[in-house]
Amino acid sequence: MVDHSSAAPHAHQFDDIQQQHEADSLGMWVFLTTEILFFGALFLSYGIYRHAYPEAFAAASHFMDVILGGINTAVLLGSSLTVVLAVHAAQHGERKRLVMFLIFTIILGLAFLSIKGVEYSHKFAEHLVPGVDFQYKGPQPGHAEIYFILYFVMTGIHALHLLIGVGIMTVLAFRASKNRFGPDYFAPIEVSGLYWHFVDIVWIFLYPMLYLIHVYH
């Protein structure tokens, strides 16, 4: 990620730390717009096929675990909160709280990934993995298969993003414990926080679209 901390107060190309901070923040926002389009194309594919095969999608979504998905939503929202608190702590130079909240975030991130792993293993057990082992008993198996492909691709890429997020948070926590951040220099935390929130937002959309289709049918 955008990461320019060094012993120097600000990198040579900038006039001052303020300019550097603004640049880091803008850089992350621009990066997030590319992410919007990246996931957006997936959501579009989902929308097109859901529009084409509504019944198959609804039927296939019966195989989703609404409870686990719901727990995961809560976990991620909680992790967003701990990130906010971490940024807040960094801004105020509270090193211990900063490290603590970063570690909370990491734990919640890992919790999400573990639950996701459990869900994936269920899908394998139920032979619902397209291209690997797909035996679907419901109507229109071909169209349901598209649903499961999109499910795996979308949640898989999302999980990959989260994994990267956990990696970044780990590095940040390590460096925070070495007291690298302070009220003047916390851009890496804030910027990584933006990324984390974005990953959270993606899930906020994924959950109803993938898990909650069938409820109203």
Partner: protein
């Protein structure tokens, strides 16, 4: 803020059954809240607003023009 999150998640599961539009609207509201408060859009510069909205606007372009094909296709 924790309460806020909690209420929304609960409300969301309750309302989910109604239909896809409500589900998406709620997701959008929730996402906006995350963006607005957690991501500090609230206190950000106009530039940040522009960048964030720009991303979604382009997504809207992608969606609307692609669907313009798929929705009008059977009429041939």
């Amino acid at each position: 803020m924790a309460l806020l999150v909690l209420t929304i998640s609960v409300a969301y599961i309750d309302l989910g059954p109604y239909n896809v539009i409500i589900a998406l609207v709620i997701a959008a509201i929730k996402a906006s809240l995350v963006a607005y408060f957690f991501m500090h859009i609230r206190t950000s510069s106009r530039l940040t607003w522009t960048v964030a909205i720009g991303g979604f606007f382009w997504l809207f372009i992608l969606f609307s023009l692609t669907f313009s094909d798929f929705l009008s296709r059977p009429i041939y």
